[in-house]
Amino acid sequence: MPALSPTMTEGKLARWLKAIGEQVRAGDVIAEIETDKATMEVEAVDEGRLEQILVPEGTEGVAVNTPIAVLANGDAKNVATKSAPAAAKAEARPAAPAHTAAPANEVVAPEQDNAPGKPITVREALRDAMAAELERDGTVFLMGEEVAQYQGAYKISQGLLDRFGPKRIIDMPITEHGFAGMAVGAAMNGLRPIVEFMTFNFAMQAIDQIINSAAKTRYMSGGQMGCPIVFRGPNGAASRVAAQHSQDYASWYAHVPGLKVIAPYSAADAKGLLRAAIRDPNPVIFLENEILYGHTFPCPDDADFILPIGRAKIERAGRHVTIVSYSIGVGTALAAADVLAGQGVEAEVINLRTLRPLDIGTVVESVKRTSRLVTVEEGWPYAGIGAEVAMQVIEQAFDWLDAPPVRVAGADVPLPYAANLEKLALPQAVWVVEAVRKMV
């Protein structure tokens, strides 16, 4: 299964265009595959006779790099070029695991999202959250580039136009300052816009409206008016799109009084917190992650499921070190915790979920149990989220710390394009493991 985009992780094998026994030349279209973005043709790279079809047509969820057919002259192989690494995965684990169980009285249990559910993607969770709130409140509407007819540049708004119509799901031209300002005016007039930025990189075009208008209106007007707007879209590095399209804006927005800032990791985070953001009377920056869109997590399917803004989640309990992260960094932290567990180190992993207001209480309580803090973020280290978390921990739990807090962050450079350099610029689980190993 070829990767048709740098962020593709799986696809549907829609149709075989060659039958078993047929001769295939390099460049022949042999199959059609569907992703969440598009239907694409797959071309053969090698020549040979199609001997065996390993993945029948109609199969969904075929992982990238899965062999789909065998050509006569060789082994099972991919029929298209190999994909770039799709996500920051855990590094190879060291051998010789030496797991030690934690005494029950020293750890807290990891939190559950306390409702039964089923596995869904983050993409579906976001759509379901918007659909539920559009259904619930007639003043909510979605506006953004290609959100309606095209169903969203990343297909987050799939199906919403059909369901809610063109007065609630509204396509905008590429004019970010123009439409962000319109959202401000509409919010002042009693509506509740959800503004989708195709990515947060383009929200820089609208930064004046977000900061000077949306964030400050309530204060400047002495509390007379607010701007209940959700500004949402993918934030941070995707894959192989280089410097201008790969930036984590978390600390930019978290710096601003008047904005709430949310950065979900799982499908439950995405669904529960987006619903809360839409209901919130303040402007909310909702930082999604393109790579996570296709990731599947268990998610409560209770119609009333919602999560509180401003509360962190302990994803994994541990007693030796507290690892704090948000968004895709939580995955990196959990992968590192797996590795560390194999080395006898029990890491507690905290998913901040909300960056402002920050649930520093949960972090401080954890550090009081573990005495060590590592922060993980994709953004640059300078004046970043990790700096803020570490400073607040120092202020509130200095005497409990056995080691200086350590930040694991993106390299302090514009994101390079070359795959090897890109990998070196984004936090890896092995960096987290190394940081922890130095302090325990």
Binding site: K167, P173, T175, H177, G178, F179, A180, G181, M182, A183, V184, G185, A186, A187, M188, N189, G190, L191, D208, Q209, N212, S213, K216, T217, R218, Y219, M220, S221, G222, G223, Q224, M225, G226, P228, P257, G258, K260, A276, R279, D280, P281, N282, I306, P308
Partner: protein, 333 residues
Amino acid sequence: MHQERGANRAMPDAATQLDIYRRMIRIERNDDATIRTIKQGRLQMPYYSARGQEVIPSAVSVNLNPDDTICTIYRGIHDMVAKGVPLRPLWAEIAGRVTGTCKGKGGPMHITHPESGVMVTTGIVGSSMPIANGLAWAAKLDGSRRVTVAYFGDGASNIGAFHESLNLASLWKLPVIFVCQNNRYAEHSRFDKCTAVDRVAKRAGSYDMPGETVDGNDPFEMYAAAREAIERARDGGGPTLIEAITFRFLGHVFGDDDKYMDKAEKAAAMARDPIPAFRARLLESGVATEQGLADMHKDITAEVEDAMQFALGSEFPSVDELRRDVFATEIAL
């Protein structure tokens, strides 16, 4: 798409002429008192006087309803007074007192008074126009006939937001009127040094919307242009760009020198002071009497004095206001 000017344009009747003049005098008396109070050392504020631009918002506002909205800019107190913001809370706000429109926390560059339709005052050049579109859009969505006026200067017509806003407003036929108060200077830079066109109104053509340049110091011309644009917007005919040519008599910010200005240009503009000109016209046509205008002047002077005394006698916001109004109260989940 420049409008044709003809004899059959809308004319303000006698009562409307007096209404326009009354608003102009309120603006002028307010400006006079503000400068006096600053000079006395009783008021410390950055003051962007609109002296000389009184006709524009006055002739626009007589065509607006109380629930119509405006977005204005840092040089916007004349727009607010014309739209009907009461003088006491207006003065208290510029004095930074708790009795101000925004409890003293917004100040003169960020006055908001939704009851009188003043939704946004921005200190960022160009940023009010997209918001005006949003207000107009919401009015259109809820089926009302409300319109929104976006006031801005000639400098803002060179900002990207101006162009984005005109495009969107025309694309969606929004009930918004863009009123460019072309006072010939963007801060301290002359219009023709910054702007590639000689008329801002020409830019309407790029967005397929009606645009016209009018003498912003002529109450009749300004009234006709505003009335037609506002009626068109109310009736679903979409936006208009009006460029009102005027001049600011007191420079960019109170206290700066005028060495950057052409002396002859300034003298000629001040000789066209719209207030005595309109006054003479009202008297000549018999719409007003000397005594009537003297009484009006006296009443308004007293009202402004009262507002100033009210403001200066008011308390500063209490210290707990420092941290209030950053966020709305938390929601119940």
